[in-house]
Symmetry: D2
Subunit: 200 residues, 4 copies
């Protein structure tokens, strides 16, 4: 079983990403549970705007799309800007939108029988909204969202330091990250053993 | 396996509820799949504001709380007002909040290994937001949200007629309702056969 | 010029309300600017569910509705539950919905030429979403929302203490509260001197 | 007085944009009120991800930023994808974020004394959420949001045709567009005559 963290930081590699660091906590736990995690930073391959699988012309999405089809457990990791999912974290589900018409042998969206979660960092409030918004988009696309499948971190009232610069709240964030990994893995395995049946 | 539709219409019984009618489509499909559905109208028992399981003093919640513990599949059905989940549909998860500390024999929230969905009607736009908001709250509480576990209906640009007064779009709404029932039931059964393991 | 704080705490008087305390900071500043503020706690008068101005039968809304018509500057103050506006803070705009068809002498909603803001407390993340959601509903009803017309407080990553139990971040919250009061008052006075003209 | 429509369609020029067409209705009314409107399509100049005013390296934002400083009335026009503001419509406020520290002679964000609105099209539900989300971000940055400062169009329950391909609901959308223009213009003029005073 494979997981794919799509890190939606606004910063290109090799700049350090707070969001990637928090998501690594989830990956570490997934690893202990026997799930291998690949990471991709969505700003690196220059993903074109649009809602098709291949926008041509240097579009970085087709490669991510392949990684996505290869993963039972995608995780969208997003920083918080203005209290909302960042632009890159909206672009990813926009491009995933096309997978709704890519169907399995039973005519269902390829996302069926896969599970997804969200990891959020920020230097201010907004995490619940970011989680609900991205999870909602992923569920629309067909992914199952396990209960409590998110960790988040931000420094609380008003703008402040970033995740890597403040130890406060880190234990709590890591503990929710472990719960997320457990629940992603648990639901993914349940669906692997008992996949959704075709409607009829 | 049992489902519970908590109808969050603002109208007391026996006033007809558009939201109940749409949710009935989901229940009919669940019935075909061998799942029995009970309905409760959340404004009938006068649910007190608060975040505890029993607010005393004529509080209608404790009875709903019992029904909830008895159902593997709760469905929150909400009308849309001002483009948002209605006040009753926010009160229900507020009262469910206390179940986070009601744990199973392995110390996990009672909502674990249960699945939930949302059904939405309205006389105007807002359904995606209502679905994401309520689903997000239910996932926080511990419920798993299957992919595409919602039907919605509203008449499109600007205010207009209600669900029972306009046949347009009804087939689409009912078809999404059947998909919802299939996915709720499929994920609930997968979790019943392969429940989440205790973290450790 | 008058302001009205509608405190949407889930707790009846005389229980202390964190939300009321934060809103008092805004009121203190408004007072210095020559604006008198009245407070009402929305759970005290038992506001019935619905979208009409008078739901009969002991409904507490008609009295609040009168206070609202008397205030140029309403402020909705809400705690955060599950990262969202609380049920009472959704009920208030639901009942205000009916004012859209209560028009001034030029046929416009009574909320025109009035300004509104939102104050938020919580023991966890969610403030930006609560602010956007309630402000969005108030703007739909016709109120103008000045820039940066909100203070918020919560303790940062994960659940924690409430506003009155933690001094951290309080200065920042109070400073945003003063900005809110300045902006509410400034825009209200601009509209008082230069009211919106009738369309034609 | 000048308005600037930032069209956040995912499609580059010269592809026709439904969102631009709806926003043109607002511009036509602004023109009648003596306000000139400029249009920019945000995907044309390749706006880099980030939260600074100039991301260097072919970044298209600095030019838009200049146009923005020149306009008293920005309008963010967004299509709806997955029921949410599109990625481009999140990128624009992200880049505007830096203007919070660009201050006027009295030390206040440059957005103070300016007003903003949102125009939304889609082939499905989501407009209220798109409006609240973008308006909320713009208010955070310092813009005043007049009451009812939005038009929206989508075809109602489930996915369907786009704005230019369906006449249904168009009159309603255009009428809300005229209201938006009136309210943007009215509040902008009130603030022009009675600008916000410095706090002190």
């Amino acid at each position: 079983m494979k997981a794919l963290v799509i890190n939606c930081t606004l910063k290109k590699s090799p700049e350090p990403s707070h969001t990637e660091e928090l998501a690594s906590q989830v990956a570490a736990r997934l690893d202990r549970l026997g799930v291998q995690t690949e990471f991709v930073r969505a700003v690196d391959p220059a993903i074109a705007p649009g809602v098709v699988t291949d926008a041509g012309d240097g579009d970085g999405w087709p490669r991510v799309h392949e990684q996505l089809l290869d993963a039972e457990i995608p995780v969208v990791a997003s920083p918080t800007w203005l209290g909302r999912p960042c632009s890159v974290a909206q672009r990813v589900p926009e491009r995933m939108d096309a997978t709704m018409s890519e169907t399995d042998e039973e005519g269902r969206p390829v996302a069926y029988n896969r599970v997804a979660g969200v990891a959020v960092t920020g230097n201010e409030d907004g995490a619940h909204h970011v989680i609900s918004g991205i999870s909602g988009a992923l569920a629309d696309i067909g992914y199952t969202i396990p209960g409590q499948a998110w960790p988040y971190w931000h420094p609380g009232p008003g703008p402040g330091p970033d995740y890597l610069n403040d130890e406060r709240g880190r234990d709590w964030a890591h503990s929710t990250g472990r719960t997320m990994a457990d629940n992603l893995c648990g639901v993914a395995r349940a669906l692997d053993e008992h996949p959704l049946k075709t409607s009829g």
